[in-house]
């Protein structure tokens, strides 16, 4: 039988193995599902972001191109003199505004930087000279110029588009001022989530449109140095210690960067939810599997302990049985070998006794001595014969007879045999019999011998003053009658308990017991299909328990 620590180890091993084999695949599955979802979700977000960014950029480029082509068309369709007529110029402006209300004003500047014609709400800039302005030189050099957004003389956020027309050796510039609010409406859209944002910045990270969050127009929005690149790109950028996902694209006509910002916490919400779900399912699975494993292993170990125990007791009783069988054979052999010489001794003594009747021997002075000697020889042969016959009785293989017996009756009958002896030694024998005890198909004479042996032993063990309690009860499943005989004697030590059913094992003085009583009892009970057990602790008496099946199996 394994030690209890061995069972604990086995149990821990079982639990750990089962957990490992079920949890590792569970975690791998959970992680893989989450990871796959994350990848597909992220790629969907990026695709979506790139798509929005691309659309916005096209819109912005289209807007710029349209403005440039409008202005270029106007500049090249007529000569300067045509526009110098204020009413004509007014009409052109009105026409432009009809197409796009974001035009604030329109003016023509000659090659000296003088404002020659102006139409719009800011009449005070009519007389301004732009000869030293940076943009004037730029447009002179490149023909087309688009400015960053600025407040300028009008003290209103705007930007300008200037187109130069060369006319022989002269040149003039058509300059339109455009309200930069246009970008706010072009850039922003409800396609972005609650935490999303979109804005334009120039190469110096100055905002060219109003973002929804953070700095105002013309404030700094530091995205770091983003070199010019074609197409659309998405990047994770840390701003104010927070990670944001940006869709980035440079405009075609102007060195402006379009930035569409996604709020990752919002966009990744489904991912977070999924993560919670995965963790929840994993935790639930962990709990369930752990509980199941612990429960299963406990049951299995319990079963194992039970079967080990049964095996151990079966082994013990098998060992006892085979010990009995071989000892029985030996006893039979010894008994036989002893019986023959005993028979001869007995007959020789008998012959001597026969001869004692002869006249001449009767006259012998030693006649009395002879007769005494013969009587003693006969007495001791009988004593030896008792031993050998009991040995043979123990070894005999005869089938016990089967009759319906009331165990209570057999017991009370047995008790009456021993009552006098018990009373003489001040030992009280009390009985508590279950009424209506079922009949047992067994051999009453043999059972009586067993009860007699046990009760007699109990009386001897107690010696003087004590009590013996005899109890019967019926059990179901298996259907048995259980007889318990408990004494208040000195009890039996553990080493002796193991040998108590062995033949010739006796605690009695030499000559008082043969050491066969319990051996015979054991083999009788076994032959009757029952079991006999002793429970005892030194100093606490001994209890014999006999289980008898109602019918022998």
């Amino acid at each position: 039988m394994l030690e209890s620590s061995g069972y604990t180890k086995l149990r821990v091993k079982m639990i750990l193995t089962t957990l490992a084999f079920s949890l590792i695949p569970l975690f791998i599955l959970g992680y893989t599902i989450y990871r796959q979802f994350e990848i597909s979700h992220t790629s969907k977000i990026l695709q979506n972001l790139n798509h929005i960014t691309e659309n916005k950029r096209r819109t912005l480029d289209l807007f710029m191109n349209e403005r440039i082509s409008q202005l270029t068309a106007i500049a090249y369709t007529h000569k300067l003199s045509y526009f110098l007529e204020p009413e004509t110029f007014e009409r052109v402006f009105t026409l432009l505004q009809a197409r796009s209300k974001y035009y604030i004003d329109l003016g023509i500047i000659d090659q000296n930087g003088d404002h020659v014609v102006y139409t719009g709400p800011y009449q005070n800039i009519r007389t301004a000279n732009y000869k030293n302005e940076e943009w004037f030189h730029q447009v002179q050099a490149k023909g087309i110029y688009i400015s960053d957004v600025f407040l300028g003389r009008r003290n209103y956020p705007h930007f300008i588009i200037a187109v130069m027309r060369r006319d022989g050796d002269k040149s003039w510039i058509l300059r339109a001022t455009i309200d930069s609010d246009i970008f706010d409406s072009l850039v922003q859209s409800d396609q972005l989530g609650a935490g999303g944002d979109a804005f334009l910045i120039n190469a110096e990270n100055v905002l060219q449109s109003k973002p929804r969050f953070g700095p105002k127009l013309l404030g700094k929005m530091d995205l770091g140095a983003v070199p010019r690149f074609p197409g659309v790109r998405s990047e994770m950028i840390v701003m104010d210690g927070k990670k944001y996902l940006f869709g980035l694209a440079w405009l075609e006509n102007k060195n402006w960067l379009l930035a569409i910002r996604d709020d990752p916490t919002e966009e990744l919400m489904p991912l977070t939810h999924t993560r919670y779900w995965v963790w929840g399912i994993l935790a639930g699975g962990l709990l369930l599997i752990t509980a199941g494993t612990v429960l299963t292993s406990t049951t299995i170990i319990g079963q194992l302990v039970r079967s080990e125990r049964e095996k151990a007791s079966l082994n013990a009783s098998l060992t006892q049985s085979s010990k009995m069988a071989s000892l029985g054979k030996m006893a039979a052999g010894v008994a036989h070998e002893v019986n023959n010489p005993l028979a001869i001794i007995k007959e020789k003594a008998g012959w001597m006794r026969d001869l004692l009747t002869e006249e001449d021997i009767k006259a012998s002075p030693n006649f009395k001595e002879f007769e005494d000697a013969i009587t003693k020889i006969e007495y001791h042969v009988t004593r030896a014969k008792d031993v050998t016959h009991r040995l043979l009785g123990f070894a005999r293989r005869m089938d016990p007879i089967q009759e319906d017996i009331n165990i209570n009756e057999v017991l009370s009958q047995t008790v009456t045999f021993l009552e006098n002896e018990a009373r003489y030694r001040a030992i009280e024998i009390s009985t508590s019999f279950e009424k209506n005890l079922p009949f047992v198909a067994s051999d009453s004479a043999q059972l009586q011998q067993v009860f007699l042996n046990i009760i007699d032993n109990a009386i001897d063990a107690i010696g003087k003053d004590g009590s013996i309690r005899i109890r019967t009860r019926a059990t179901h499943d298996p259907e048995e009658v259980v007889i318990t005989i408990a004494d208040t004697g000195p009890g039996i030590s553990k080493e002796k308990l193991d040998k108590i059913f062995d033949p010739f094992f006796t605690t009695k003085k030499v000559g008082e017991g043969t050491g066969l009583g319990l051996t015979i009892s054991f083999s009788i009970i076994q032959k009757l299909g029952g079991r006999i057990n002793v429970e005892s602790q030194e100093g606490q008496g001994a209890t014999f328990i006999i289980n008898l099946p109602l019918r022998k199996a």
Partner: protein, 132 residues
């Protein structure tokens, strides 16, 4: 009436003493030391009772018993056994022995059984005569 008795046992000390003890009671008996000897004696003389030891070297008591039952069905047999032993005794009874006695036997007990066996033999002989 004289009873013809044959004692079969391999222990010569035992046989010798028994012969003397029966003799002193005016009951002369014959003896044989083995199964073969017993069967030879049976062929020469009609015995009333045979006292037969179960365990003998050579031919076993039970085998001898079978042959006796075949050759002289009216002869009664008492099994004598020091063997493990009610079993062999019972087996003998099943094979038609009159009774069995465990060694070491009480002489008076044995004598009693011999007389009863003889009575039965006589009854059987009478019954057979009437039947015939």
């Amino acid at each position: 009436m004289e009873i013809n008795i044959l004692l079969v046992d391999d222990e010569s000390d035992f046989v010798e003493t028994m012969v003397k003890r029966f003799g002193i009671r005016k009951m002369p008996i014959d003896s044989a030391k083995s199964g073969q000897e017993a069967l030879a004696a049976l062929a020469a003389k009609d015995y009333d009772v045979i006292i037969l030891d179960v365990r003998m070297p050579g031919m076993d008591g039970l085998e001898v018993l079978k042959l006796i039952r075949e050759r002289a069905p009216l002869t009664e047999v008492i099994m004598l056994t020091g063997h493990a032993s009610l079993e062999a005794g019972m087996q003998g009874m099943n094979l038609g022995a009159y009774d069995y006695v465990l060694k070491p036997a009480d002489f008076d007990d044995l004598l009693d059984k011999v007389r009863k066996a003889f009575e039965r033999k006589q009854l059987n002989v009478k019954a057979r005569k009437q039947g015939a």
